[in-house]
């Protein structure tokens, strides 16, 4: 069994106030081990992106704890203080907004390298080029600005930037939704390789095929809570909860006739 790297317990968050209160998270708990990939699958409005932002420290919950290596990530209103900050990084859904439009791919990654390694500009550049190459971004493309790169390339630059912090955990929020099928495959293969090198990944997606391929355990989310959790293979083969069953059944080809939930 792997050690527990991240443990979230009873996370709650409500948006808005008075009559317009929306409970985004209603008591969510999960664990993540070393070099493990877990999936959080749910449809829009389930709260999975909110959960991702809380786990990564961009958002504070109303209640609940998040422990990284048995230490709380909270220090007052700050999340992941000090040296902890670089441990958990994120890849965002929209490749178009995730890179500074005025910086080249190389500049974006080199900035991170330089910041984390406190090395010279030349060393940072060398390390960034190497990192980008590992992500499949060649030297010529590294000097391009985001608008000259495809969606898949932009996502890989984002991953390179995230990796320059040498994190233990990568949270990927719908990383493949906005890109081509072949770009998706490239990105997923990349993730698999990173898993093999010891990185832990939390993959949030509504794409069941992607979840099934990459993750070992999966949490099924609906309306701010987990309705089912378990080993990916078992959840897919024998879903217990009716919602999970409906999800699995709606994968094209799984069942010719399905009961769709009332709109």
């Amino acid at each position: 069994m792997t050690d527990t790297l991240l443990a979230a317990s009873d996370l709650r968050l409500t948006f808005g106030s008075g009559a317009h209160r929306v409970a985004a998270l209603r008591g969510v708990s999960l664990t993540l081990g070393t070099a493990e990939a877990i999936g959080i699958v749910g449809e829009s409005g389930s709260g999975k992106s909110t959960l991702a932002r809380i786990l990564v420290g961009l958002q504070l919950p109303d209640a609940g704890t998040v422990l990284f290596r048995d230490r709380s990530i909270y220090a007052g209103r700050q999340t992941y203080p000090g040296a902890l900050r670089r441990e958990v990084q994120m890849v965002f859904q929209d490749p178009y907004g995730s890179l500074n439009p005025r910086m080249t791919a190389l500049a974006a990654v080199a900035e991170a390298c330089r910041f984390h390694d406190s090395c010279s500009a030349a060393e940072a550049q060398a390390r960034s080029l190497e990192l980008l190459a590992r992500m499949g971004i060649g030297e010529a493309d590294s000097h391009k600005k985001p608008r000259q790169l495809s969606g898949g390339q932009r996502q890989r630059v984002s991953v390179a930037r995230a990796l320059s912090a040498r994190p233990s955990i990568l949270v990927a929020d719908e990383p493949t939704s906005a890109i081509d099928q072949s770009a998706q495959a490239q990105l997923l293969n990349l993730f698999r390789g990173l898993l093999g090198q010891g990185l832990s990944i939390i993959l949030i997606s509504h794409d069941l095929a992607v979840i099934r391929y990459l993750t070992r355990r999966v949490y099924v989310m609906r309306d701010g809570e987990f309705v089912e959790a378990g080993a990916t293979a078992s959840v897919f083969e024998a879903p217990q909860h009716p919602y999970t069953q409906a999800l699995i059944a709606s994968i094209p080809g799984h069942q010719p006739r399905i009961q769709e939930p009332t709109p």
């Binding site: 990564v56 420290g57 900050r85 907004g97 930037r161 912090a165």
Partner: protein, 282 residues
């Protein structure tokens, strides 16, 4: 994949047209700046020197003729280049810097009272036409080019602040800002390297078109004798002085006017070219 390629194709049409525009404008502006440097240096006449017979038409000796006091119009027109463009530059850059700073700070401010107050102030200033406001304030400070700069600094910043704030609110939400936070970059770095460049791109673009307006404003105010005081060579002032003589000594108004047009057109080319390049299409 081809979405990018298609974008690139249509963008390149805009790109070429844009690049041509920028080059033409830059060349025109460059020529003017060069002439503004060389003519006063090489000319035998001082712009304020009363050296000749007044109201002479253009000739080989006095290319643009002489004005009512016998000064060489040619030298005067070109000695005004740096004055006009320089004052306009200050009249744009000071509001741009202060306005952008205010706009950015507003967008990250957590004090609702402060934000409400400042945005109301901005809206109030923006509601008033610039020229009218300028004339009113000049009455306070007295006429002169310095007053114009002060007046512009006091009022024009509000337009930039509004643009900067709107843009900043948008940029604030972008994932790359959040990614920078996740990297642990200190706030100043995020502000200066990620936030500001993406906000100021908008305000600088506005500033370029504002430049033309400000030149017109300066010349306009000077024409109304509220700006440059005689005997200072300044296009608007020269046109004002030439007004009583416009029938007999047309060269006194036409040539400064042409200089004004040249400056305006060259800046228009540059602004239009830049926006075409950004938009990527005709």
């Amino acid at each position: 994949m081809t979405a990018v390629a298609l974008e690139a194709t249509t963008a390149s049409d805009g790109n070429t047209a844009g690049r041509v525009g920028i080059r033409v404008g830059a060349a025109m502006l460059g020529a003017m700046l060069l002439a503004g440097l060389l003519v006063p240096l090489l000319s035998e006449y001082h712009p304020n020197e009363l050296i000749a017979v007044p109201l002479q038409p253009p000739s080989l000796q006095f290319l643009f003729g002489t004005d009512q006091l016998g000064r060489d119009v040619f030298t005067r027109v070109f000695s005004a280049v740096y004055r006009d463009l320089g004052v306009a530059f200050l009249g744009v850059s000071i509001p741009l810097v202060t306005g952008t700073a205010v706009g950015v700070l507003l967008s990250v401010s957590t004090s609702r009272v402060l934000v409400a107050f400042v945005t109301s102030l901005i809206d109030a200033i923006n509601a008033l036409p610039l020229l009218v406001l300028a004339i009113a304030l000049i009455a306070l400070f007295g006429p002169g080019l310095q007053s114009i700069i002060i007046v512009l600094a006091m009022t024009n910043w509000a337009r930039y602040a509004r643009i900067a704030r709107t843009r900043a609110m948008l940029v604030k939400q972008q994932a790359y800002i959040e990614a920078a936070r996740l990297q642990g970059y200190p706030a100043w770095r995020i502000l200066l390297r990620h936030f500001l460049p993406n906000v100021s791109s908008e305000t600088i673009a506005y500033g370029l078109s504002d430049f033309i307006l400000v030149i017109m404003l300066i010349s306009g105010l000077s024409y109304l004798t509220l700006g440059a005081a005689p005997p200072t060579a300044e296009w608007g002032a020269m046109m004002s002085e030439g007004r009583p003589f416009v029938q007999d000594a047309w060269w006194m108004t036409i040539f400064p006017g042409l200089a004004l047009c040249w400056a305006g057109i060259s800046l228009s080319f540059i602004t239009e070219g830049l926006s075409r390049r950004e938009r990527g299409g005709p």
